[in-house]
Each structure stands twice: as C-alpha cells, then as structure tokens.
C-alpha cells in the first residue's frame, strides 16, 4: 500500500503538466485515423503540426486533401485563397477545441474541470485516461486516452456513437524555433 502510493507519487499530474508545458515550440507530423463504425477502413489523413506556447496550434493537413487550420484563444480559423478565415464560434465546437489545446499542452487543471483524470506510468512512458464528468459530455464521449513520453504521442477519442478518432503525433521535436512563415501565420 505504502509502496503503491509512493509509486503513484513518483509521477503525478502536476509533473506531467510541467513536463508538457516545458517546450516553447513543438514541430511534428501527424496521422489522423477516423474509425467510423460503418466503414471497414479508417479515413486516414496526414500532415504536419506546430504547437507554440502562447500562440496556439497550426494543423496543416497534406493528404488526401490540403487544408490548413489554426487554433488559438481567439477561436479556430481555416485558410482559403484569400487568407485565414475565422470560423463562426459555434459553442460546442469552440469548447472541443479548447479541450484539444488543453490536451496537447498538458493543461491538466483545464481538463480536470470536465473530466476524471487517471494517470499511470512514468515520465518516459505515461498514459492518461479522461472520463467525462458532466451529463452533456457523457452523451458525446465515452473516454479519451492520451499517451506519450517527453511529448504527447497518441490521442484517442472514443465517441458514444461508436466512432473513434486516433491522432498519432510522430517525429515531434522541440528543438526548432518558429519559422518566419509560422510566426506570420500565428500573427495574422
């Protein structure tokens, strides 16, 4: 019992938060798999992302179609021929994107508000399970699973309706600063 609790204390939510909040900028590739209940094959898309502290997230979808997204405090924007277009702040959508940022940035206090969090593993190999608290969220998600090491590796969203989305972040690095183009994208 004693051993177990001291083990649990070895890597706690606060430490995970601190660890994930450390890098200023993360670059990486992602693979998104949407497992729809009625489809034998998942809908798979690939691209790159840039997560920058104090700025937000650039999500650049490359295949099978090209589309750039930006998530920040101000909301979500999509790039078209004439530049970034803010999408209408649909209440539920905006909330989901707040969650998404909180997950990637390890903002566990933001997540604890809406989910029961359970953390296992250690700093190099951890797994975080999110179970919704509110009736409203329970009608949408069964569970969200996140795992990773120094950075986040996988995010899995299990929807109540049976669909499942898996986001795999690969080759993430925190060594590279924001390029001019990226800075421009965040500033615009």
């Amino acid at each position: 019992m004693l051993g177990f609790s001291s083990l649990a204390q070895a890597f706690d939510l606060q430490q995970l938060s601190d660890q994930l909040a450390k890098p200023d900028v993360i670059h990486g590739n992602f693979i998104q798999e949407k497992h729809l209940r009625a489809l034998p094959q998942p809908l798979t898309s690939k691209g790159t992302f840039v997560l920058a502290k104090n700025h937000g997230l650039l999500w650049l979808l490359k295949t099978p179609l090209q589309q750039d997204y930006r998530i920040s405090d101000k909301g979500i924007a999509r790039r078209d021929a004439s530049g970034w277009q803010m999408l209408p702040n649909k209440s539920a959508g905006a909330e989901q994107n707040r969650l998404f940022l909180a997950v990637l940035q390890g903002d566990s206090s933001g997540l604890q508000r809406d989910f029961e969090l359970s953390l296992s593993g250690d700093a190099q190999n951890w797994k975080l399970t999110l179970t919704p608290r509110s009736m409203l969220l329970k009608q949408v998600f069964n569970q969200i699973n996140i795992d990773g090491g120094e950075l986040v590796h996988n995010i899995e969203l299990l929807e109540t309706q049976g669909d499942r989305t898996l986001l795999r972040m690969q080759d993430s690095t925190s060594a590279q600063p924001l390029s001019d183009a990226e800075q421009h994208d965040f500033a615009e």
């Binding site: 997204y69 702040n89 409203l136 049976g162």
Partner: protein, 779 residues
C-alpha cells in the same frame, strides 16, 4: 341662524358617506385594487385582434422573465454561484422555472435533425445541393477529414451526406454566449470575467402587485450573498422596472400627499389660529374616498399613477371650505351656515367649471387621463358635498379670529397693483405681456416620447445595457407580423422578408432576426430538395473513393426521399425549435400568421421601408405608433381646451353676462399662454403632459377670476381668498414637479406656472355689479 334644511343636510350626507364607505369596503375585499401596468395607461393603437395577440406574446417574456449574469474572474466560481442561486430561487416559490444549465436532450435533438433533413436545410445549403452537387459532395469529403468541426451529434453512418451538421451550423447564432460543455451552463467572457447566464421565469407577471417587489428583494438578497464571494450579479427584467416604479410611486405619493397635507394644514393654522380649522381637511379626505371608489367602480382598479397625480387633488378640494372660511376676515362675527349661504353660488360655479376642465381630460385617448379625470371629478363632487352639507355643521359655533397678516399681504398687493397701474396702464401691460408670450412661444419646442412615462433608475438601464453588450442579446420591441392564406405562402413571404433583413444585417443596421423560415422551408422547396437528391449518385464518386459503401449511400438516399414533407407544427415540436415557438401564431380567421423577431436594431425607419411593398408583411412598432399618437393627441388636447372654455363661458353667462363670462375665461387662457411662453423661455420642452396640465389650469383658475369678480367682502378679502386657494393648490401641484417620472414632473411644472399666472392676472377680472341673486346679503 340655521335653516331646517341645514339641519337635515348633515344627516343625509352622513348616510351617503356610509354608503360610499360600505362600497369601498366591498371593493377592497380581495386586497388593494391597484395596478402598476404601464401599458394600461397608454392608448390602444392595435385595433386588430391578431396584432394584439402578437404583441402580448412578444411582451410576455419581458414581464415574466429575469435574466441574470453571474460574473467572476474564475469561471468555476461563477458557475458554482449560479448553481447555488439557481437552487435557492427554485426553492423560493417565486419562480415557476429557474434555469442555470442546459439539460440538453441529445437523443431528441438527434431525432429532430434526422427527421428534418429535407425540411430544415437552409436556403444556401439547398441552393448548393441543387445547383452545385459536385461542390456539395466535395465539402462533405472535407468535413469527414476535418478534426475541428466540433461534435457531430449524428454519427456519420446515419447521415453520410452530412445534412444534420449543415442544419446545425446554419441555425442563427444567438448572441455571444457559449456552452460550457463540462457544466452545461451558458457563459460569456467579457471585462476579464466569466459571466454565467441564469434565467428565471416567475409564476405570475410584472403586474401582480406583490410579485415585482418579491423578485427585487430576492435579487437584492442574492446580490449581497454573491458580493461576499466577490461575485458580481447583473440583472435585467421588466419585473425590476415594475418594482422600481411601484416603490417610486409609493415614495412620491408620500412626498406629494404628505407634503401638501402638512403645508396646507400649517397654512390653515397660521391663517385662522384655531385648531378646529383643521376640520377643513374633512372634504379632502371625503374627496379622496369618492375619487377612489368611482375609479374602481368604473375601471375595476386604480392605477398607481392616478394616485400620484390624484394626490394633487388635495390642494383643489381644500379650496371649497376656504371659500367660506376666508370670509371670516370680512364677516364679523363669522358663522358657518350664513357664510356658506353667502358663498354657495360661487362654490357651485367653481365645482361646475372645475369638473368641466377635468372631464375634458377624459375625452383624450389616454386611459391614464380618463382615470385621472374620473378620479378628480368624483373627488371634487365628494369634497363639494362634504363642504356644503357636513362641514358647516362641524364648524357650528366656531369663533374664527383670523390672523391679520394674510389680509395685510393682500392689501399691500392690491396697493402695489394700483400704484403700478398709475404708471403703466393696462393696455400697455397687455402689450408687454403679449410680447413676452410671443418671444417665449417662438422658443418653445415640443417633445413626446413614451419614455417620459417611465422614470427608470439609471442603474437598471445601465445593467440592461451591460447585459446586452456581454451576451449580444439585444431584443427590440419592434417585430414583423406576417400573414398568409397558408403555410406555403407564409414561409415564402418570410423568405422574401429575410432577404431584405439579411441585407440590413450585412450593412450592420441590424444584428439579427429570428424567423420560422430559418427553421423550416416551404413545402415546394422541400420537394425540390427531394428531386435534387435523386440526381446525387452521379456526383458522389469522391465519397465512394473514401471507402463509403455504395449500398450504404443508396440506402440513405431511399430513406431521405421517403421523409415526409414537414409543416411548421411538426418542425416546432423538437428541441431545436425552442426559440421559434413564440413566433408561430397558428391559424387565424383568414389563414395563418407568424412573427419575425429582431435583435439589435438601430434604425426603426429603415425597417418600416422593408415592409412597404411586401404583401402580408407588417411592422409592429408599438413605441413608434404611441409616439405618433402622442403628437396627434397634442392637437386634440388643444381643441378640447377650447371646447371646455366655450362650455365654461356658457355656464358663466347666466350669472355674469356674456361680457363678464368672456372676461373671466380669457384670464386663465392668457395665463395658459404665459405658461407656455415661460416653458419656452426656461428651455423646457412642451410635452403632452404640460398641455394636459394647462388644460386643467383653465378649469381651476376660472375659480379665481370668479372670486375676484364677485368681490364678496371687498377686493382685499377676495384677493385673500384667491391667494389662499392658489397657495394650497400650488402646494400640491408644485410638489408634483419634483417627481422623477418626467411625465408627472412636466405636468406639475406647467400647472404650477399656470396657477402663478392665473393668480397674478385674477384682479383684472373686473367687478361685478350685483343685480339680484348673488347680491351681498346683510352680514
């Protein structure tokens, strides 16, 4: 000394008084028959039953609902406080429903979206599906990969074409509040705080006398409780305005009524130096009783505003006893019944002329003024009867030895006038006066606005504006009423209107609107969508490439085409339709009707133009219409004033002859003119209420001219009587001028001015050469 009839009169009057008291007791058996509904006071401008029903439907939430924002810099604390208050309010019994979080019924929402996939598709989406099916499919493919579209309520395999998502996204955005997904509350972020929305609906409405006060007290209590946790509350509700109006009315009745009573009693005591003279207040009390009873008998209840304005009757009612009390300066020794006999004709004339003046108010289209007219006329009759039948008996044997100071004032005023007339003759004075009038009238500005009726405290309006800014909810009182023979035509007409309103929204002249055609499309459009779906298989190759099974798509198509055409009633059944339900008026005598509500309007004139050439579409703008009625009434009020003057002249011809009657009436008219000019010089606007005030002045101040012309007991004694009468009346009306309701204060100001001028001008009434009946009997 006392005639036999004068022994009978007090007893007869007491019987009458008892009867009226009994009636009053019966009227008050179920509590106070008082009303605070402002709309009862303004003219009905909607003769159309449907328009009236629509108006009531739109106003109902204003009078029954309260919107509160619970603000704290930490969202969780704000939510916790909203929940705590919500539970407290629910338990209070004042509210029928308190809502602090959305209990979204997602399964019902899903069913509604799936069932309405043909009927609820927006115009833009319909157009794309029909005209550019390839782009429609392309967008669907994109959406399937988009990780940020938000929750899809309906899983992809139940809606491969993504129609439910489009319906959800095309619903008009309502303000800037967002759903906090964790707690289910609606929240808006502004000024560095999170504001959680709390909505409450009362069991009764704002016009139940006690409810607004209960709600206001509860809110105050909650504010204090929240403040301890550093949480700020902002509230908006028609109930709060009603509560503040009631408190203000009560305060003003106390001030005006109490102030006038104290002032008049003090004046009586100082002038007559006998405690028994306080009995002169009996006619005032009887007058109030008669007024209230008549009002409730005729209208079923009495409005608080009638009470406020009616409390000025105190000063007029006390004039009747003053008529004969003031004779104590010239009649020595003074005895009550002989003094009454001497002044009875003048008293009676005064009653008739005042009643004519007050009842003239009753012919204006304002229910408020009709009530005040009835209250005042009945009150004056009561005061007159008690002054004539009862008071002399009460004062029998009283030895009045009045103070000499009022007489000295009157004498020195007369002397002043004489010496003035020595230097400047009357025609010159008249010319100067007319110059003054012309100068003032040229500067006079008219101003009429329903808002003058409401003395809303700054804090309430500020909070309502802050709430509108934070939430983006800016409901307007104007709305469109759309009529048609059937639902198809109705929705078509609303679509035509929507196109114009969209332009206004794009020009930022309008923030938004809500119309049934945003929820459900006309049956003909639903058929077009069904036909267009039949051609879709030629375009859905990109979906097949993603791996969507062809038979799944085919099966979905069959299901979609089998969906029945939805009518308005079906569309309104689901949870998504909640904000639309009040808009549907249903079947009418000539077809169907619905409303279109508006948000954040800044130019009503623009709206009126929109409806001009659209058949069946009408803008209902109660405030605008009322302001027009105000302006029109100003003219009819002036006509009434002249008519009442003609009537008074007719009454006065009998005792004074045509010349005398004209002269007596011309003085109050001139006084009214001077008051108008003074308003101009003072930079005060002429409102409908100032005009009504002047209408009244004519009636009251004819009395002064009569008193002066009769000159019973000499010029100084007559001026003294006039002076006392004017002082008491002025005391009660003058106090109205301090009211914080602009309408009441305007009324008080113009009456005060009119009375002052009437008093100054009264000595020019001339001197009646008494022939027979009104002759001065030996004292």
């Amino acid at each position: 000394m006392t005639l036999p009839s004068e022994r009978m009169l007090p007893r007869l009057f007491l019987v009458l008084l008892l009867a009226v008291l009994a009636l009053a007791g019966w009227q008050w058996r179920d509590g106070t028959p008082l009303s605070a509904n402002l709309m009862e006071l303004v003219p009905g401008t909607a003769p159309d039953a449907l328009e009236l029903r629509a108006e009531q439907r739109m106003q109902e939430p204003l009078n029954r609902e309260m919107l509160v924002l619970v603000g704290h810099k930490d969202r969780q604390q704000a939510i916790a406080m909203a929940q705590k208050l919500g539970e407290q309010w629910q338990a209070s019994g004042v509210f029928e429903k308190v809502q602090w979080n959305l209990q979204a019924d997602l399964p019902a929402l899903r069913t509604q979206l799936l069932q309405g996939r043909l009927a609820m598709l927006s115009a833009a989406d319909r157009q794309q599906l029909i005209e550019h099916p390839d782009a429609f499919i392309q967008q669907r493919v994109q959406a399937l990969f988009d990780p940020f579209t938000g929750f899809s309520l309906v899983p992809s395999q139940d809606d491969w074409l993504g129609l439910t998502g489009r319906i959800q996204n095309s619903q008009p955005q309502r303000g800037s509040v967002q759903l906090d997904i964790g707690s289910g509350v609606l929240v808006a972020d502004a000024d560095g705080k999170s504001w959680v929305m709390l909505r409450a609906r009362t069991v009764g409405n704002a016009f139940d006398m006690n409810l607004p006060l209960q709600v206001a007290d509860l809110l105050q209590h909650s504010r204090e409780e929240a403040a301890q946790a550093d949480v700020q509350l902002l509230a908006a509700s028609g109930l709060l305005y009603a509560a503040s109006g009631q408190r203000q009315a009560a305060r003003e009745i106390t001030w005006v009524g109490g102030g006038a009573t104290m002032g008049i009693l003090l004046l009586l005591l100082l002038a007559f130096r006998r405690w028994r003279v306080v009995l002169a207040f009996v006619p005032v009390l009887v007058g109030m009783l008669f007024g209230a009873v008549a009002c409730v008998a005729l209208f079923g209840q009495m409005h608080v505003m009638t009470l406020v304005l009616g409390s000025s009757l105190i000063g007029v009612a006390v004039d009747y006893p003053l008529h004969y009390l003031s004779k104590s300066w010239s009649l020595k020794p003074w005895h009550s019944w002989p003094a009454l006999r001497l002044t009875l004709p003048g008293l009676t004339l005064s009653l008739i002329t005042s009643c004519i003046g007050y009842l003239a108010l009753a012919w204006t289209p304002f229910p408020a003024l009709t009530q005040i007219a009835v209250f005042s006329a009945a009150g004056l009759l009561g005061a007159y009867l008690s002054a004539v039948c009862l008071l002399p008996a009460l004062l029998k044997g009283a030895q009045l030895r009045p103070a000499q100071w009022p007489m000295r004032i009157a004498e020195s005023l007369l002397a002043l006038r004489e010496s003035l007339l020595k230097y400047v003759r009357t025609p010159v004075l008249l010319a100067l006066l007319i110059a003054f009038c012309v100068g003032g009238l040229l500067q006079l500005q008219t101003k009429n606005d329903i808002r003058q009726w409401i003395g809303a405290p700054q804090q309430l309006t500020d909070e309502a504006q802050t709430i509108a800014r934070i939430t983006g909810y800016q409901p307007t009182s104007q709305f469109f009423l759309v009529r048609a023979v059937n639902q198809q035509e109705l929705l078509e007409r609303q679509t035509a209107l929507s196109e114009r309103l969209d332009q206004l929204v794009n020009l930022e002249k309008l923030q938004g609107y809500l119309s049934l055609n945003q929820l459900v499309s006309p049956p003909s459009e639903q058929r077009k969508v069904r036909d267009a779906l039949g051609k879709l298989p030629q375009f859905w190759q990109p979906l097949l490439e993603l791996g969507v099974p062809a038979d799944a798509l085919q099966a979905e198509l069959v299901k979609l085409q089998a969906l029945p055409t939805e009518d308005i009633d079906a569309a309104l059944a689901g949870p998504l339709a909640e904000p639309y339900r009040t808009l549907w008026l249903g079947p009418t005598d000539n077809g169907v009707a619905a409303m279109v509500s508006l948000q954040g309007l800044n130019n009503p004139a623009l709206l009126r133009v929109q409806a001009l050439d659209l058949p069946g579409v009408q803008l209902v703008d109660r405030l605008g219409d009322l302001n027009k009625v105000f302006a029109a009434t100003q003219i009819s009020a002036a006509e009434l004033k002249l008519a009442s003057c003609v009537l008074i002249v007719l009454v006065l011809i009998l005792p004074f002859g045509l010349g005398g009657a004209l002269r007596i009436v011309s003085l109050p008219l001139l006084a009214a003119l001077c008051s108008l000019a003074s308003l101009g010089w003072l930079g005060q606007p002429l409102t409908l209420f100032s005009l009504f005030g002047l209408l009244l002045v004519t009636a009251i101040s004819v009395d002064y001219a009569i008193l002066m012309r009769e000159q019973i007991g000499g010029a100084a004694a007559s001026l003294l009587g006039t002076m006392l009468a004017a002082a008491t009346t002025w005391l009660s009306f003058g106090l109205l001028a301090v009211s914080s309701t602009p309408a009441v204060s305007n009324f008080g100001l113009s009456v005060s001015l009119g009375l002052a001028y009437s008093f100054i001008l009264a000595p020019w009434a001339g001197r009646q050469v008494h022939t027979a009946p009104v002759a001065e009997p030996a004292a």
